[in-house]
Amino acid sequence: MSDRRPLLAMQQVTQAYSLPRTALFSPPGSFTVLDSIDFDVCAGEAVGLVGESGAGKTTLTRILTGMERPQSGQVMFDGTDIWAAGPAARANFRRSVQMVLQNPRSSLDPRMRVGTALLEPMRSLRIEGDHVKRLHEVLDQVGLDSSALERFPHEFSGGQLQRIAIARALMPNPRVLVADEPVSALDVSIQAQVLNLLKDLVRDLNLGLVFIAHDLSVVAYTTSRVSVIAAGRIVEVGQPVELFTRPSAPQTKNLVDAVLTVESGLSGAAL
């Protein structure tokens, strides 16, 4: 553990939201979504995050990608605190950390051609260079044909759309990819296409990957280290297969117990 050199890390992050007052003069309550969280990812490493719904996974990714500023704690990228850094370091951070979202249908603007959508991050982040060349490079990486550029999102299947979303995230040449349930909306029969792609990218591009999924075996397949989050706290960290076969925290046990497999179903032991 000591020789890890994290590329992107959050240290002692706490985030709370205020709740609407229950009565006119009562003090506004607050709800701690993340409580003193430490979480990090190195280059060329895939780390997983699992937990029940509402545990704080999405909030964690919002803070990790700089979309939300934590109330306390730091987000460190390449050794600098992004919220204390100057504009140049912030810009570097923004293009180096990209995200893939859960629902491929809604993560692309239905009225925008795929080519335009892919160029959005480049324009917005004001990245110089040969964009057309980059477009073709990226399409190649995700295994799509360049005829895709002229088409609209509704002309693609869910699996293809998720590749397009990954292509968009890869455009600015990021060093870390954060994927929040990228295969939950896909059929099992095609989710492997996306998972294998993510795995190849981590290896070939030396990318850091933060991967969230509710299917534990999918997480075990994709990542080499996993954190279990429950009610805003990290309760356990470890090698996924070991962790899921011999869980020690009760919250991890809970998740493992909920897993249904075809085999357990057929043997009548599932419910």
Partner: protein, 325 residues
């Protein structure tokens, strides 16, 4: 004693304009039986369910026979169907949020169903509603009954939907992806409840999902659907342990399981190449042929029918294949 099946579907065709999403489907669920309908999204599962409920979107038409409670539902009037819905046949939808009325208290919504289909007083209907909520393991039922849908969690909403579906002891419950929108831990609780409650009432269950483990846990028989047709049909134990159709085989092989993952991260998951064809471009012959590893010219030319082995396939998977344990 032989009783009539809870539902018997013969050669059901569902379509709009000249496109058919369901192309000649036949199956039957015995009284109190439990059948699963499985397939990738877009294979026609929901359209089958909606046709059985008489809830097809406008412009869509169903043909064929759907025998239930002594009548053919396909030829029933809307009025006859709607008086039946919730009473002898009821349905649980995937998205509990959009199927509950957002401006009516959940307790009232359950009581409404009871009040509409049986001649009990409003007060008695409410008492039964609370009773049902207790059976659904809902916490603080009296208080929860007075909540609005947006005030309760997804898992609780789905349990309310199940309570509504079960309220009148229907002969058949159709559940279309009832747990897809739920968290895994909540999914298990909801499946347990659905399982116990349908058995207790001897209601038949038609479970629609793309999730094979759910079918394995809940059902006795299974129909595997692809591009609007049933491609394999039989007892769950046989179909899942010894699939004969290459599509079923592919679905089973794509299931990730903890045991086949190498610790060094080198393992690859299997997937079915390509995707479900859109209705406008259905392949000739066996609609699965562009994705099938065993396809031959015969597959491309002629459409196979369900054979005695339960699969609609010209070259069924060899008898040795089995689920990886």
């Amino acid at each position: 004693m032989t009783t009539a099946p809870a539902i018997e579907v013969k050669n059901l065709i569902v379509g709009y304009e000249d496109l058919n999403a369901v192309r000649g489907v036949s199956f039957s669920v015995p009284a109190g039986g439990r059948m699963g309908l499985v397939g990738e999204s877009g294979s026609g599962k929901s359209m089958t369910a909606l046709a059985l409920m008489g809830l097809l979107p406008s412009g869509w038409q169903a043909r064929g026979e759907v025998l239930h409670d002594g009548v053919n539902l396909v030829t029933q009037s809307d009025k006859a169907l709607s008086s039946r819905r919730g009473k002898t046949i009821s349905m649980v939808f995937q998205d509990p949020m959009s199927s509950l009325n957002p401006v009516r208290r959940v307790g009232d919504q359950i009581a409404d169903v009871i009040h509409r289909h049986s001649d009990v007083s409003r007060r008695e209907a409410m008492r039964q509603a609370i009773d049902l909520m207790v059976q659904m393991n809902l916490p603080r039922p009296e208080q929860l009954a007075r909540s609005y849908p947006h005030q309760i969690s997804g898992g609780q909403k789905q349990r309310i939907m199940i309570a509504m579906a079960l309220a009148c002891y229907p002969q058949l419950i159709i559940a279309d992806e009832p747990t897809t929108a739920l968290d895994v831990t909540v999914q298990k609780q909801v499946l347990r409840l659905l399982n116990a409650a349908t058995r207790e009432r001897n209601s038949a269950l038609l479970m629609i999902t793309h999730d094979l483990p759910v079918i394995a846990a809940m059902c006795d028989t299974v129909a595997v659907m692809y591009a609007g047709r049933i491609v394999e049909y039989g007892p769950v134990q046989e179909v899942f342990r010894n699939p004969r159709h290459h599509y079923t085989r592919g679905l089973l092989d794509s299931q990730p399981t903890m045991d086949n993952i190498a610790l060094d991260g080198t393992s690859r998951l299997v997937s079915i190449p390509g995707m479900v064809p859109p209705l406008q471009r259905l392949p000739s012959g066996c609609a699965f042929h562009p994705r099938c590893p065993a396809a031959t010219d015969k597959c491309r030319a002629e459409m196979p029918e369900l054979a005695a082995n339960g699969a609609a396939c010209w070259h069924p998977v060899g008898a040795t294949a089995a689920v990886e344990a």
